[in-house]
Amino acid sequence: MPFIPHTKEDVAEMLTSIGAKTIEELFDEIPKELISGELTGVPPGLSEMEITRLMMERASQDGFYQNFIGAGAYEHHIPAAVWQITTRGEFYSSYTPYQAEASQGTLQLLYEYQSMMASLTGMDVSNASMYDGATALAEAALMAVRAHKTSRRILIPQTVHPVYRQVVRAIVSNQKIEVVELPYCTECGQILPESLANSGHEDFAALVIPQPNFFGVLEQVDALTDWAHSKNAFAIGVVNPTALALLTPPGEWGDKGADIAVGEGQPLGIPLSSGGPYFGFMACKNELVRQMPGRIIGRTTDLDNKEGFVLTLQAREQHIRRSKATSNICTNQGLMVTAATIFMSLVGPEGLRRVAAQSHANTLELVEQLVKIKGVERAFSGPVFHEVALTLSKSVVDVLSKLKQKGILGGYSLQGQYPELGNALLVCATETKTESDLQNYAAAMQQALS
């Protein structure tokens, strides 16, 4: 029996101890009319050899492509050590560290993670993770409304990831929180701070500021943060963690810094894997820590005054506060954070800076080659990090299909979410791309458009 170790003798002895004749008898408290009988629709079991064969076939059916899609999930080099250590049984198969003395490994690692993320974002404290970037932003919006106390409105620019906006709307609308979308400058691809000054928005709990934004464009974060603060609202930064090695972190935006920073942690050592599991990160200023959702680890001492780590400030959480908790979140993305912490330790500050700088440089190089092609133009004039929006002279769908025939996934079509941009394509080239990869892409694009 797969994964069940009982021998016939074991079963007999156990039933005798219980005082039952059959295993079936142990279900005698379930009303008979509810018992379902033999299941249908479940295939017979496979051996490990057979499932291995099946999964290898399915995997090779999917194959490998040169990937230039970003749009919220980014291909980066992941050191071999990251997942070899992360999938050690002691991390992989351990439980939530409620029993602190038997979980010091996970707890210390999470404390180290919080320290790294606090520094990367320039904030005071980080929690131990949310589900993903989109839900982290939704929780940040709820947190801002709780802390603000008077307004139940959140301003979100249309330059924020479209699915993040959908997720935020789906979650916060349950609590009658209004989401107002702010238009962007179609020429520069940014939110113009001067347009906000005349927008008439006075009563709102928070302004969301993406950096870089969904178009890969860098926003004028200082002015945006200061404007939110001038209206007594919070500034929520939604940021790419790789970019923070080069860019001013949210904690240092404007005069006072953003109040909450969130984002998608996937670029920090998590494989693309069809979209998950990833992890959301969330960091904030000290003043807001008691409004923060999710698990937080603190350093303390034991009976011998020896350093140790525990889950702390749990009076915010559902297992203590039940209906009065800051969020319903329980399970987070612990194992992904384990990978990210090992990743950040292996690359260090200079390694992460080089990854960011090379990704930026590769994207600039690719754009330089592409805009030489007739029929390719940059969609926006604003500065970019490692992703850029292009407008094409032909249908994006057709172009992507031609690139795919050459083994290239050429980017993310903006036509569905931003029809006003016409034939617009979002392209990303990270440090994983070589000079010849970029040249191949440009050559394929030239052919596709000719």
Binding site: S17, P43, A81, S103, L346
Partner: protein
Amino acid sequence: MLIFEHSRPGRLNYSQSPAKSASKSAIPQNLLRKSKVLLPEVSEMDTVRHFTRLSQKNFSIDTEFYPLGSCTMKYNPRACNSLAMLPQFISRHPLAPEDTGQGYLACMYELQEILKAVTGMAAVSLTPMAGAQGELIGVMMIRAYHESRGDFDRTEIIVPDAAHGTNPATAVMCGFKVVEIATDKDGNVDLDALKAAVGPKTAGLMLTNPSTLGVFEKNVAEMSRVVHQAGGLLYYDGANLNAVLGKVKPGDMGFDVIHINLHKTFSTPHGGGGPGSAPVGVAERLLPFIPIPIVAKEGDTYRWITEKDKPQSIGRLSAHMGNAGVLLRAYIYVRLLGLDGMHRISEFATLNANYLMAELRKAGFEIAYPNRRASHEFIVTLKDIKDKTGVTAMNLAKRLLDKGYHAPTTYFPLLVPECLLIEPAETESKETLDAFVASMKEILQEIEAQPDMVKGAPHTMPVRKLDDVKAAREPDLAWKPDA
């Protein structure tokens, strides 16, 4: 020692980063970072050693028995991990075209179908990333259902007092008021209390069955009738589905919406706190509201169902389709088990639980609901022991760590004093259960002979009892260089 304390300025793992600093840059000066990033500068070998050593300070299923109630800590087959991490799967971008992901989508489609079959629901969405998110999504669908009928007055969700904290927290997060109902002396939801609680304001009832008290709600059919008659819907918290998988389908019990914790019943790893995954299943009447994306099969090809197909959907609750890699592990697990294996899960989980309950009772422990069958878990109460000796459930739990066992769930459910919620899961052998009983007996003797020693436990862990009060009063939540 923290990883930061291994750090030396200027150390770099050259093989892990681009060879040289890139020359091209077009980032405006005013946007460039000026402060240092406090990541450690540690060699690859020292990093590997540091985190390997940290891992060795953990308990885990791979190293210890976890009789952890309501958490279903069963063996996580290694094949599920290695096959989910095949290079084509892990390198696939979530926004890659459907025709480059037919292998992956086939797995997801089949997983949806199998989950439908074992739960008796009309459709399944794989998008929720954890049990609590499954709950949120389920309760959002309940709201959407009522509102679609123009019924805006249903502002209350009923939750039994034995429920997980996520249930009331979810209801509130979803904008509902929580009405808590009591449990009777046999561990069932108090039917009269339920009848008194339902009414025109009732949006729904959230129920875990078997409950967190480790017993099957015998009156579930009547509860379903009462709630439905009042116009409410029934939510099934699948935390304890492991106890009845292949025996009873939530759909047959009358539930309109359910979530299934794949990290419990379907053996995906707990990972030190996550990632989880909690697909939701719905009955016919909630079909229009199910969250997207879902995988559809048309002929021999698979595609995403999106907003266009489901205009009334509550929408998207994750950036892509939930914890895709976790779903892949669950798919591999269900294929390994197959039909027969699926039936055996609940049978052997229940056998193990009832055996352990019988043996602990013989060893002198007090069972909270002695006249009931254990589902896949049961409760021991140490109230008498505490009254006589001062030794608490937590003390005993910590002493178990010294004996090489993870502690059972303690002080949950809240309504049983000094409780241990014990769930052995089907993958544990009789020898392991017997050894656990022997250790529990030893602790009983220790409580008699040297209660202070037990109160001071644990004694053999990397640290002794930690100061939680200090941690909360003087929060030290991030390392700083000069601290």
